[in-house]
Symmetry: C2
Subunit: 185 residues, 2 copies
DNA sequence: CTGGTTGTGTCAGTGACTGACATCGACAGT
DNA sequence: ACTGTCGATGTCAGTCACTGACACAACCAG
């Protein structure tokens, strides 16, 4: 209708982060988020499949980044090493947004429904990783096992990267977690 | 009000399995399930936190079983072996219900929302496993890494156990998947 | 037979989400 | 400049998941 303001999607994402952080996820209605972003509830649901999805906008990019990095890994890398290279690349996208990542994971940690969605995104990352390993010639079920192991390392590394005060190198966190994984015998 | 019929919970679970298998999960309303079970929608939601939960009734028992089995594992077992013992014990609960498990996983596989819930249950199993390993003296982050690795093995083993025609031994499936995991280097 | 407890039905209400339809601005093609 | 299509949005009505408040029936303990 009236004048069309650009970046509605970005405004909704920022509005959602602010409101969810202030009041919490459940008490905030989709209409609240839309209103703060200057759009209607209907527009919100045209951009995001559901209320939770507004917090997971970058998931697709991370998947593609991991996929490409795995295919670009040295040919003599082991499946696990190749998958871990994908995790490092995916995590690299967050390097200059640590504050945003911290804020986001606090919101997610406070709500079971959001954790559920996060698990789905991680599962999608694992599936993409599995596919990339397959393209490198890794057979079943080693592809899936290496992929899920890499994603588990990613989760541990991410948790370590976020906690504490002074920022650490994400790749180093991945290396540490991977070493701990290999030490399991 | 009227006469009270026993096992309402069991009837709702069976009704849900039947209806979800016939029409699918989304098109079936909570009221449909309740009606087939001979109760009202309100009663359905008194027994299950939400519409999805009706398919995950056994999750809590599996968690407790895994927990106990991990604590009962030989003292000289490695963390990963102890965690795997928990997975074998948890999977053992399904031994005499393979048909039910197959039916259920078909329903879950057909709906993203249900997969999401399944991931949450598996994450809860991983958390319980982490806690049990901690009680055995396993330190961070090895506890979480071993727990998630074991749950990943569980998933692969379960998939193998369900596919194909003639039923295989679940413990053997776990052993195979665990061997593949260790072969990752 | 009295009171508490448990499991249920009824009813009203909120919020997530969807489909159908109209509108507005931009951007061709003529 | 005229017109038609296209993309993003607003409006409206409707379904369904889920919840709180209240009442009722069976049961059990005293």
């Amino acid at each position: 209708m009236g004048r069309w303001e650009p970046d509605a999607r970005g405004r909704m994402i920022r509005a959602a982060m602010d409101l969810f952080a202030e009041r919490g996820f459940e008490p905030t209605t989709a209409g609240d988020v839309a209103a703060r972003a200057g759009v209607t509830e209907r527009t919100f649901f045209r951009h995001f499949a559901d209320k939770r999805e507004v917090l997971f906008d970058g998931a697709g990019v991370m998947e593609r980044t991991a996929h490409d990095a795995i295919l670009a890994a040295p040919a003599d890398s082991s499946p696990l090493d190749a998958a871990l290279a994908g995790m490092v690349a995916a995590g690299g996208l967050l390097a200059d947004q640590r504050d945003h990542a911290v804020r986001r994971s606090r919101i997610v940690a406070a709500n079971p429904g959001l954790q559920e969605r996060e698990l789905l995104k991680l599962a999608a990352l694992a599936d993409t990783t599995t596919g990339a390993l397959r393209a490198r010639g890794v057979a079943e079920p080693a592809d899936a096992l290496a992929a899920h192991s890499a994603v588990t390392v990613f989760r541990v590394a991410f948790a370590r990267w976020i906690e504490g005060e002074e920022p650490r190198d994400f790749a180093a966190c991945v290396a540490d977690a991977a070493a701990a994984l290999r030490a399991l015998t």
